[in-house]
Amino acid sequence: MIKKATLLVMATLLFGSCVVVKEYEKINLNDPDMALSLKKCDGNLITAHAYREATVGANGGKTGGGCGCN
């Protein structure tokens, strides 16, 4: 898994290094729905998943602490 992740990050870096989008070209990227962060209104949904699923993390939500969840 770690090998795959490393390869993916390296591929992304290589791919990304070919493209530089200027600030004035980011109008579409600045759309609120393009934000890569977790939306505040989805916080309780993420928490519900953390309680009911064995999986947590890598989503901007809980990472296993702060509750008696899995």
């Binding site: 505040k40 519900a48 890598a58 509750c67």
Partner: protein, 486 residues
């Protein structure tokens, strides 16, 4: 010469002034004004595999949560965020710690604690176990049926002048009837490549503590030193598998309260994001999560398949114990769940967002997860925001989730007394689940509507229906309102 110096001085002043004005004009505040988010949700679930009753029984639970998040710009570069949340829930799981509808040990308010002077029925409940009736298929009406979870978190964030670097520090506190948590964290984020690339790292530490609540029969057994004619067991008829009266029931290990009630979590998160084109960007997250301490839930029963079963209630219902026809007999626990005191988790996730046109955006997410308890999972989600008007966006979404079982998971009556670790918590079983969601967002960038000195910026409403390939299903309705100060 003097004239030249004067001209130079004037030009310098004008230039300096212009520079200052220009800098100020281009230095955008991290947060323009104070923002207040009111968030609420209502969650309900049902299922037939309750962990508190050993893997069978009702999983009914409802939860109503309200939260207020206040973000305050302290200056151009610093933002303080305070997040307060309260959650009230009713749960068959917590109530069936004591399924006999009496005030017993599982509530932490047994006979020895009930020294109040009121004349309510609680004072007599402990002696009414002779009429004890319980079933895993109904939530008891005991005091632990309802409870409240409260949390508060504070986050301080600072951004550099050029906005290419930021750091934050946070602290949190949360408490509920059997659990307390104190958390600390911090992180850094660096942007470069003309803000096309960013790399972040953060750490979080949670110092949690159980206030253990045990299945009432186990806690009572320990309180009366195994004398089944005293305390909770006084006047109660215990039955064996054949329905005959018996006093042979014993928790397999005699039962002792857990000694180390700490449960600490250490999380390190690494993130990378990259703009791929004018319409696409991607982020990757890797978490390294280590947990130590009591990682099971002390309220969750386990029944061994290789020891005799004992019950309280109606002997005639024992043959139908595992069906919903059973309304009046309850099986006494062999033990609580036992799990290793360490767990290492490695989730890896990525988001890819693509701006198709001014009306449609694709938001995709994938996560792979594995841990040293033998669980592996995959999560895939697609949300497609569709702008149907200037201020209105719809949010249809689909999510698929699948996981393998923990090495220590055993269904009802399938754990063995020779096992070292065991749990009948179906949240740790093998299953897959789908989630359908639909939401809408109203945004008014001009904040024309006002509440006191705050303008209404946005309203979010979302509904998600979640279903496993088992009997478990749930839904959640969320609502959010964002206000900004004038």
């Amino acid at each position: 010469m003097k004239k030249a110096l004067n001209i130079f001085f004037c030009v310098s002043c004008v230039f300096a002034s212009a520079q200052t004005d220009e800098d100020q004009a281009y230095k955008k505040r991290v947060l323009e004004t104070t923002e207040v988010d009111f968030l609420s949700s209502y969650y309900a679930q049902k299922g037939d595999n309750a962990a508190v009753t050993g893997g069978i029984g009702t999983e009914e639970l409802t939860d109503a949560t309200a939260a207020i998040i206040i973000s305050i710009p302290l200056n151009d570069d610093d933002v303080l965020t305070v997040n307060t949340s309260i959650s009230a829930y009713t749960s068959a799981s917590s109530s069936n710690g004591n399924p006999f509808d009496i005030t017993g040990a599982s509530t932490g308010r047994g006979e020895e604690d009930d020294d109040d002077d009121d004349d309510d029925d609680d004072d007599d409940d402990y002696n009414r176990t002779g009429n004890a009736v319980g079933t895993p298929w109904n939530a008891s009406t005991g005091a632990s049926k309802k409870d409240t979870w409260f949390s508060v978190g504070v986050d301080y964030a600072h951004s550099s002048e050029d906005r290419d670097f930021s750091w934050n520090a946070s602290a949190s506190f949360a408490t509920e009837y059997d659990y307390t948590s104190v958390g600390f964290g911090g992180g850094i984020l660096k942007q470069f490549n003309q803000k096309n690339t960013s790399i972040g790292a953060s750490i979080h530490l949670y110092l949690d503590k159980w206030n253990p609540i045990y299945p009432t029969e186990l806690k009572s057994y320990e309180e009366v030193n195994g004398n089944l004619t005293q305390g909770f067991f006084n006047g109660v008829t215990l039955l064996d598998q054949s329905g005959n009266t018996s006093t042979a029931w014993r928790p397999f290990y005699g039962f002792k309260p857990i000694e180390n009630t700490a449960r600490n979590s250490y999380a390190a998160t690494f993130s990378f994001s990259q703009i791929l084109s004018k319409n696409a960007q991607l982020s990757v997250f890797v978490d390294l999560l280590q947990q130590k301490g009591w990682l099971g839930n002390p309220l969750q029963r386990v029944y061994f398949g290789d020891v005799r079963n004992y019950y309280i209630g109606n002997a005639a219902s024992i043959p139908v114990y595992t069906s919903k026809q059973n309304t009046d007999v309850f099986q006494l626990a062999d033990d609580i769940e036992r799990l290793p005191n360490t767990r290492f988790k490695t989730p890896f996730g990525m988001r890819l967002h693509y701006y198709l046109n001014e009306n449609i955006v694709f938001r995709s997410y994938y996560r792979h997860y594995s841990d040293d308890w033998g669980i592996q999972s995959h999560t895939a989600q697609l949300e497609i925001p569709i702008k149907v008007a200037n201020s209105l966006t719809l949010y249809p979404s689909f999510r698929y989730y699948t996981q393998t079982a923990a090495t220590y998971f055993r269904p009802y009556e399938q754990a063995l007394s020779s096992d070292k670790y065991y749990t009948s918590d179906y949240d740790l079983s093998s299953y897959s689940a789908t989630q359908l969601g639909f939401g809408l967002n109203y945004t008014d960038i001009f904040t024309k509507a006002h509440i006191a000195s705050f303008g209404l910026k946005s309203i979010d409403l979302k509904f998600y229906q979640y279903k496993r390939n088992t009997t478990f299903s749930s839904y959640i309705l969320t609502a959010g309102i964002t206000l900004v100060s004038d």
